[in-house]
Amino acid sequence: MTGTTHDDIKLSNAQIAWRAAQDIADGAYVNLGIGLPEAVARYQPPGREAIFHTENGILNFGEAPPEGQEDWDLINAGKKAVTLKPGAAFFHHADSFAMVRGGHLDVAILGAYQVAQNGDLANWSVGARGVPAVGGAMDLVHGAKRVAVLTEHVTKKGEPKLVERCALPLTGVGCVTRVYTSLAVIDIENGRFMLREKLPAIGLEELQSLTGAELAVDGTVADLIVPEF
């Protein structure tokens, strides 16, 4: 497993984010995890309006302000300065996590170190060394109607990130419903990875060889087509 093919054909982070954005319905309330998932907000299909939630107490925030115009009381969960859109709201942390755990968010999109075929997610700790930090990750995997993951299909060393069982410390048990990777779109159904879309340039066998658990196929696998940018 060299990973060479993967590196040649894989989607960029922006393209993975674009694909995930296509599944967000008009009127959806959405939380985007820190890092890679944040880019999803940029690829909203025209004509759809999603409302973005941040853990530290804003609904309907927008892009970063121009440099020099930051208000450091107006930041997102990644502690980056943001702006407000018309119809924004502020609230305290207990209300913010009531929105999360209480089933009020339509979609949460998170990053991952590993995702298991039963929907377990590991995305907060790579082991015992250093300072542990969890933030809102363990809350966000509970309560949203859909919990999706955005990730490279394999690690930088070419090891599968989609696995039978997570080896790293868990963030949540059986919580992930869909995975958008640099090669494919995969649902988690009844304890299995169900392949929905894959890049036309990769064969099923090769995709399977880059995946740490069996890829099930139910009917046809659609082509994963994403614009170049």
């Binding site: 804003i58 942390h93 048990v173």
Partner: protein, 240 residues
């Protein structure tokens, strides 16, 4: 009724060694920098308070505010969700040297534990952390077919709070997302100490706009144009 006092030094004068202190803010947003620095001033002059347990979402950034409090050696234990930042060196070095204890709590659980502490609810169940390392040793119960983890309330001796406008009765408003943990911590402390950018007479805040009712507040000190952690760090500031 008048809860206002003259100085930040007077505001923090009653905080003793070993106290549990909740400090509002999420990163620098809503962090009461001047109250924390007043506490550091007192420690420099008198050697007290020390051995504090601090409850905050983070563990400080750079060498001001909470990071400075930790750097001064005043904090024995930190209860937080995310002890990382752009410049987390102060906490990281003390933690790796075994000089500060860390209780890591998922962010929503931290918020709800503080809310519960202020609301008189000793324990509650949450789906958060079920099946993870952070649920080890905690009771689990099933409700409507799903497992939940029992968590306990969190209370404090003191809360240090940053508000935008306060009136003399302690009614508070906040600035934008600086609200975060502040209203919850106001409820959960035996004595809540507030720095506000502006103090107005009773009636100066529309009752429809009050975010924290004054019943949760004990002392208010006016700190016009409060400092922001992010701007201090960009300027390379250290405290003291």
């Amino acid at each position: 009724m008048d809860k206002t006092i003259e100085s930040v030094a007077e505001a923090v004068a009653g905080i003793g060694d070993g106290a549990v202190v909740m400090i509002g803010g999420f990163g620098g947003s809503g962090a009461p920098i001047e109250l924390m620095h007043a506490l550091i001033d007192r420690h420099r002059q008198t050697g007290s308070p020390k051995g504090l347990t601090v409850v905050n979402n983070n563990a400080g950034n750079g060498h001001v505010g909470l990071a400075a409090l930790i750097e001064a050696g005043m904090v024995a234990k930190l209860v937080c969700s995310f002890p990382r930042s752009a410049d987390p060196r102060v906490f990281t070095e003390k933690y790796l040297a075994g000089e500060i204890e860390l209780e890591l709590v998922p962010q929503g659980t931290l918020a709800e534990r503080i809310r519960a502490g202020g609301a008189g609810i000793p324990a509650f169940y949450t789906p958060t952390s079920y099946g993870t390392q952070l649920a080890q040793g905690k009771p689990v119960a099933e409700f409507e077919g799903r497992p939940y983890v029992q968590e306990r309330w969190l209370k404090a001796d003191f809360a240090l709070i940053k508000a935008h406008v306060a009136d003399r009765h302690g009614n508070l408003t906040y600035n934008k997302a600086a609200r975060n943990f502040n209203p919850l911590m106001c409820m959960a402390a035996r004595e809540t100490i507030v720095q506000a950018a502006q103090v107005v007479p009773a009636g100066g805040i529309d009752p429809e706009h009050v975010v924290t009712p004054g019943i949760f507040v004990n002392r208010v000190v006016e700190v016009p144009e409060p400092q922001q952690e992010e701007l201090l760090n960009r300027a390379g500031a250290t405290y003291p």
